[in-house]
């Protein structure tokens, strides 16, 4: 099997090259009118189309904004990024970085936004305690809490959510060039029915989430807030994370 295994390595390594080594072509027996090099091209084209399709599926809005440049840019990415997983849905995690190096600043952020969306989309549905169960936990404010790990805050350009939402309605705007603006926090979470939700947080809400992550108890998280914090914002956010089962007191069976 050694020569066949060697063939596999050469074939895989050259899938993005223009030609196959003559040695590998000799290993392939032609079928009907299809010469070995033409057969290699069939698989090569399929490989490139499959990976490009996976990128377009994950980065739909980025693809739409790239327009005519999408194909050549994604093929360039594919040439330098072989797929390392059996799961095509895992492919392309480095595209935001790749776009950033190509000076597609806002689209790089949009790519991170879309990658975050798919991570949350494919995550298990939250299984924290229901609001009713939480209300029955004694001394809740002082209990260490665990937050559902697949609910995440994404920090991005102030317009990134609006651009994404408009694109869902097939509406497109001129992309902003002021990439250095202060980034806003966007909260991604999955509701128990499997739907992905995104909203722009006010800084206080992001602070509560991060404080719980850092301190572990609700009391500690809230004590770090400024005195002039709007209590309604705090209340509504706490209600949201409990309603969607994103929170669980540690050491309490749900």
């Amino acid at each position: 099997m050694d020569s066949f295994f060697s063939f596999q390595h050469q074939f895989a390594q050259q899938i993005n090259n223009e030609e196959l080594d003559r040695h590998e072509l000799q290993f392939m027996r032609p079928i009907g009118p299809l010469a070995p090099l033409e057969a290699f091209r069939v698989y090569q084209e399929d490989y490139q189309a499959r990976l490009e399709g996976a990128l377009v599926d994950t980065y739909r809005v980025v693809s739409l904004y790239l327009g005519d440049q999408q194909h050549s840019l994604f093929q360039e990415f594919i040439r330098s990024h072989p797929s390392q997983s059996f799961d095509l849905g895992d492919y392309g995690g480095d595209l935001p970085n790749f776009l950033s190096h190509k000076n597609y600043a806002i689209l790089s952020q949009m790519a991170k936004f879309e990658w975050t969306f798919y991570q949350v989309f494919n995550a298990p549905a939250p299984k924290g305690m229901t609001a009713q169960q939480l209300s029955q936990v004694t001394n809740l404010p002082n209990r260490p809490l665990s937050l559902w790990p697949y609910a995440v805050i994404f920090y991005g350009h102030p317009q990134v959510l609006r651009i994404w939402e408009l694109a869902q309605e097939e509406k497109f705007i001129d992309l902003p060039h002021d990439n250095e603006q202060e980034k806003h926090p966007y909260f991604f979470y999955q509701s128990p029915d499997g739907g992905v939700h995104i909203f722009e947080m006010v800084p206080t809400q992001a602070q509560i989430w991060n404080n719980i992550l850092a301190n572990g108890t609700l009391e500690a998280a809230l004590s770090d807030l400024n005195d002039d914090t709007d209590p309604k914002l705090v209340q509504s956010f706490c209600a949201l994370i409990s309603r969607h089962q994103l929170i669980n007191p540690m050491h309490v069976e749900s």
């Binding site: 099997m1 490989y47 799961d87």
Partner: protein
């Protein structure tokens, strides 16, 4: 190895579950189709909506799990990380059949996401038999392997595909997922008689049949799953049905230019006519 048994009795006519049909299936379960086949990789790594939809479908239908990443003939050996995820998936959904392809799909750190052929010779036969036994023992159930449509062969091949398939099922204890469209496509491209292929296959070793449509590019046929089943493929299916003593679960695959659910169902239901003839 000891014989393992599937968990559920097998139904007859099914179709491949595709995202394009989710909405219809979620709202309208009034279908004559008896089962669905899912691409394992589309569901097994997602615990989100794809998993939930499959739970919903599984409540009402038997399913078959068809993989594309087993990479049985890889130079890297078996991927137990993949098998672990697959086992958790099939343990959760209890499919009546678990299948993949007789192929290699890539090497470490370079997955080609393509079904590439293997040389049909004794070395490959021995290697695959050992691996299939290991897989079946790990999964604690038998698997089925599908014959490919391939666009090249190897100078190292020493036996016909049908002889290789027969030897493999006997030696390893796996069953065959017989893709009759692939048999037809290969027969036209290679220039062999597809009836000779089917005549050589023991129906008792066939756990499932695939039907699909192909495309042509010049003189060559390509297995694109983008069209209705070709009349010649229906004839081959009718011929093989005549040799079988039981209704073998039969699936219509349609992956490109996917029609409405109703059209898909109507095409699949033609299987009944072939068996009744």
């Amino acid at each position: 190895m000891k014989k393992l048994k599937s968990h559920n009795p097998a139904p007859f006519v099914g179709a491949g579950l595709r995202t394009e049909h989710y909405a219809h299936i979620e709202t309208d379960f009034d279908t004559q189709l008896e089962w669905f086949e899912v691409i394992s990789e589309n569901h097994m790594t997602s615990k989100g909506r794809p998993w939930k939809i499959l739970e919903r479908i599984r409540r009402d239908f038997p399913i078959s799990c068809h993989g594309v990443s087993l990479n049985l003939g890889s130079s890297q050996g078996l991927n137990y990380r993949y098998l672990k995820v697959l086992k958790a998936f099939i343990d959760a959904f209890r499919p009546f059949l678990v299948s993949d392809h007789l192929c290699w799909t890539g090497i470490e750190n370079n997955n080609l996401h393509n079904l590439l052929p293997l040389p049909y010779n004794l070395d490959t036969l021995n290697l695959l038999s050992e691996r299939i036994e290991a897989i079946q023992n790990y999964l604690q159930r038998p698997i089925a392997l599908e014959n490919l449509s391939a666009y090249f062969d190897y100078t190292q091949s020493t036996m016909t595909e049908w002889k290789f398939l027969n030897e493999l099922t006997k030696k390893s204890g796996c069953s065959l997922l017989l893709d009759i469209n692939n048999v037809y496509v290969n027969s036209q491209n290679y220039g062999f008689n597809p009836y000779q292929f089917l005549e050589a296959i023991d129906p008792n070793h066939v756990a499932e049949i695939h039907l699909a449509g192909f495309s042509t590019r010049g003189e060559f046929l390509f297995d694109t799953h983008s069209r209705p089943v070709h009349s010649e493929v229906w004839q081959l299916y009718r011929y093989f049905s005549g040799r079988a003593q039981r209704k073998i679960p039969t699936l219509l695959e349609w992956d490109e230019d996917i029609p409405s659910f109703g059209e898909l169902e109507a095409e699949a239901m033609k299987c009944h006519e072939m068996w009744e003839d």
